[in-house]
Symmetry: C2
Subunit: 271 residues, 2 copies
């Protein structure tokens, strides 16, 4: 099975994931395991507030997590998660959120797409912009983190890794937020701005093909169509620089990802 069960086992448990990332020497938000009220109260001392209490498993798009602004709300937060094993994460004062989509082939070769800068709304990815407004050193750090994670997992396939950019002592530093062992929403722009999309590279990887080039031919902004956003599909389809992707879901519930649109900007000259 590719990518392999280990990547899944680690990434589907927020605590295991953070311990794995720390073991690779990668920065994360401060965190502590939470089993009950006692451990949550200890965690609040270690991690501090503001913090976020997250279920260790089965959370995505901001689901199964509770913000904790002061320690007096510990019991209420715990009961909101119905007592499932959790992790308390310190809220990070980040300046930007970025992500990298990378792939590792059967031979161990890796490729990475350009860094995307992400904007969330109510815990859900709203927009990814490429190029991201980050310095070259930050992009190198993200790429190195991707290589470390892919290699440690002996991974085969496409991975998406989300980071916080934090300013510390005059320099910018990366903290890994989480990784997803699959094609990633923040990489959907590759469908329209690259010769080889993340989807093709995932299939190439797991089929043992050489990985395709991740060269980007155009600047691009990917915007998720969430809930009723998708009602505007006809107007979007008429935009001259828009690539529209609808998922065919029948019902547009609030917060539900119904599709996305890639809006291309300037083409990039290639040597």
């Amino acid at each position: 099975v590719r990518p392999g069960s280990r990547a899944l086992a680690i990434s589907q448990d927020r605590l295991t994931e953070k311990i794995f990332l720390q073991g690779l020497g990668l920065g994360t938000a401060p965190f502590a395991a939470v089993e009950d009220l006692t451990s949550l109260e200890e965690a609040l001392v270690d991690v501090g507030v503001p913090a976020i209490l997250k279920a260790r498993r089965f959370g995505y798009d901001g689901k199964a997590q509770v913000a904790l602004d002061h320690a007096g709300k510990a019991a209420a937060a715990l009961s909101a998660l119905a007592g499932v094993p959790a992790v308390l994460e310190g809220r990070v004062a980040f300046t930007r959120e970025i992500s990298i989509v990378a792939a590792r082939g059967l031979s161990g070769a890796t490729v990475a797409y350009d860094i995307a800068e992400n904007q969330h709304r109510e815990g859900i990815l709203l927009r990814s912009r490429v190029p991201a407004g980050v310095e070259a050193d930050i992009a190198r750090q993200a790429s190195a983190a991707a290589d470390a994670i892919l290699s440690a997992l002996d991974y085969v396939g496409v991975i998406g890794i989300e980071f916080f950019v934090v300013e510390e002592g005059g320099g910018a530093r990366l903290l890994v937020n989480e990784f997803a062992p699959r094609v990633h929403n923040s990489g959907h722009w590759t469908e329209d701005a690259c010769l080889t999309s993340q989807f093709e590279n995932h299939v190439r990887a797991i089929a043992g093909w050489p990985l395709g080039a991740t060269t980007r031919h155009s600047d691009v902004v990917m915007t998720n169509l969430i809930g009723s956003d998708a009602d505007a599909w006809a107007a979007i389809a008429a935009e001259p620089t828009a690539g529209l992707h609808l998922y065919g879901k029948r019902e547009a519930r609030p917060g539900r990802k119904m599709g996305h649109v890639n809006r291309l900007g300037a083409s990039r000259s290639r040597k």
Copy 2:
């Protein structure tokens, strides 16, 4: 039914097609209808040699046609076509072969992709190159011919139109070779070099959507993988600028189109 039965009726009969094109004031190779040896001998006088005797229906990729280099071979050519209704076409001394892929929407709006320059081998398209090495005036003539054909047919969908470029009296002129009422092999480069491919624009047209932009972001050469050419798929997949498309046909017979590859060149700057 879209594109509509009229486009099919005209384009599937080489004689009807040429009469239709002439009626629009578009240039074609000299031609004459052939029913039997008598009409073929008369046609040879009108059209001259060298010429090509083509079945009026069911010919593609150079099938069902016979070259006629001198009039003495008339009977042999006719029997090679087994007596089906035919058309004699004068062989055109062209300098280039080009094509345009265009689309017309339900509203009557038309779009066209950039002109491709085509190279055939044994009657089968081998390679399409974009940009084509033709002057702006030739591109305008091709685009105007596409508009005239689409409008006269009240067409809905994508069409492919092939032309010969001939030099006459110091200037270049276009002759229409034939048109195909569908997505066209010489437009397969649009899959990897444009935001909206010819396939998407065909679906948009027949579904009544606005047509997508035909802007090209990269230079490109499309090469058909004919017969055993497709055996090189693994090497092609490893090329950093190649988009590989295989059709999944089980048997690679000589002359059979097994796939194609789009090789991207420089990106184009867009304002």
